[in-house]
Symmetry: C2
Subunit: 313 residues, 2 copies
């Protein structure tokens, strides 16, 4: 007999990683979103409730990524069936932490689990990419790490374009989100249409160095490469309040480098100890508050695994 | 007592590797240049002879990279001493195989050996970069692999910017040089000054994939990434006679991908067996000859070690 209910968790993700703009992403150990799905007599997906960071989240299932991904999977594995979906948002919206991706992935994994997980993890990618495309463009640099965990290279949006890279032990991250809005569309619009060839060469060198550092397990080199972006961050810096000062605060707390997570406003500081990640998170939250901005932050690590089924009954 | 004579060998190198323009290079098992140095009563470096592929090579020691690098090392380790230098060119000039770099590296290593090798291998890098800069710009993507062997990532021209990457076993290369001139200056001049941001993202994805493939030891993926350049090769294709046809010939001989070596005209085809590398080299030479162009080619592999001292007596 089919289970009655399934709950899945999908983690926040840091996309871009400096010079890895649009191609690299990593999964965080926390925070994350949870989706619970239950059988329903109404066909398709009915959104039952959203809890947590739910301000301004679309209640229309056609605009909610958890519902879109769930519907996509449902059509594949049980086209006649109906489910209700409850979304527990652990992630703030529009924070640069892959909020829409986490919801999509949790939705896809939960529905799959409710029907006995007929699809493999990577087979859920199209559903997640489709959902992501409705709210923030067709890209996989958040959904792929949320689905698979670790550090992921995406050279496209299909399964064969997703490559797991090693996550070095000893990498600790401070992730801090100030309460400012940086709409993704605006963060895209400020990017240059073209870049000098020399800048392209620099970016390719830095991203090659970043991948090398991941394999070498060299945290200092990884931080140097992640901090080596000369194209994206300079174009977006003016959208991020107090960016220069915040990076300085992080450095003084022991962070090796600090990058913008996704399109911001979240900052992600790379540290080589748990202690310096905690110190950096605390210092950055205090700094933003001093500047009159509410902020939330935490020390975390790279999650080696991505989404997980946390309850089926 | 100091030895009388020292001979060093330095290999040909393939720089660029598709999307790794200006940042990746690899050392070939063959061909290479040899430099022999002997003590002399005249201070400094005297060029005694050049043999082999010596057409149009500058006899002026101030323009000859073997002599420039040798002088640089001599000033560091024995500023009062004098040597004579004999260069045996195994590499054709201006072929895109790092001819000037091989001479520079062989010169630096030979002088160091004559005086008991007081400098480490990487400490010879500045001499080689300096020599290279006189004839083809200040860059290390040929001299670093010629000096160190294997596949090398260069993010600058100093020792801390040189990173050894793994050379996957099972990679075989067909290296074929048609008798056409592609001056490096012209090959530089045809490059675009700026590239679309989307092209930059594509190139960073491909170079990240290339480094990942090297570590994963995945030859097919490596070839796919190396062939993924959309910026440099398209701009230079018109300088390379019959490029499209030659790539087709290589593919039909079993090559996985074919790239321009350095600034050309040499082509480097990536193969996964010795046999297909041999077949590709033979087919490409025959193809160029059919088109009325003399050509020389061979099947080779990545040299795990770079320059070596082959005789001291």
């Amino acid at each position: 007999m089919s289970p009655f209910s399934a709950t899945a968790y999908a983690p926040a993700t840091v996309a871009n990683l400096g010079p890895g703009f649009d191609v690299l992403g990593l999964a965080l150990a926390s925070p994350g979103d949870r989706v619970t799905v239950e059988h329903s007599s109404s066909p398709g997906v009915t959104l039952k409730a959203i809890t947590g960071h739910s301000d301004s989240l679309p209640l229309d299932p056609a605009r909610n990524t958890a519902c879109i991904a769930a519907s996509y999977v449902l059509r594949q594995i049980a086209p006649e069936a109906g489910i209700t979906l409850t979304l527990e948002k652990g992630l703030p919206l529009a924070s640069g932490l892959g909020s829409s991706a986490a919801s999509a992935v949790a939705g896809a994994v939960a529905v799959n689990a409710l029907f006995g997980s007929p699809l493999s993890r990577i087979e859920l990618l199209p559903a997640c990419v489709e959902a992501e495309s409705v709210v923030s463009g067709r890209h996989a640099d958040n959904v792929a790490p949320a689905l698979l965990g670790g550090v992921v290279l995406v050279t496209g949006t299909t399964a064969d374009a997703v490559h797991r890279l090693p996550a070095p032990p000893g990498l600790y991250l401070a992730v801090v989100t100030p309460a400012v809005a940086v709409p993704t569309a605006q963060a895209r619009a400020v990017l240059p249409a073209t870049v000098p060839l020399t800048a392209m060469v620099h970016q390719t060198a830095q991203v090659a160095l970043l991948v090398h550092a991941l394999y070498a397990g060299d945290i200092a080199l990884l931080a140097r490469a992640a901090g080596g972006d000369r194209v994206i961050e300079p174009a977006r810096a003016h959208l991020m309040p107090y960016l220069t000062e915040a990076k300085q605060v992080a450095a003084e707390s022991g962070a090796l480098t600090t990058i913008i997570s996704g399109a911001g406003p979240t900052l992600c500081a790379f540290c080589d100890t748990q202690r310096s990640a905690e110190k950096t998170a605390t210092a950055l939250v205090a700094f933003y508050q001093q500047m009159g901005l509410a902020a939330q932050g935490q020390a975390t690590t790279v999650a080696p695994d991505g989404a997980r089924v946390i309850d089926v009954h």
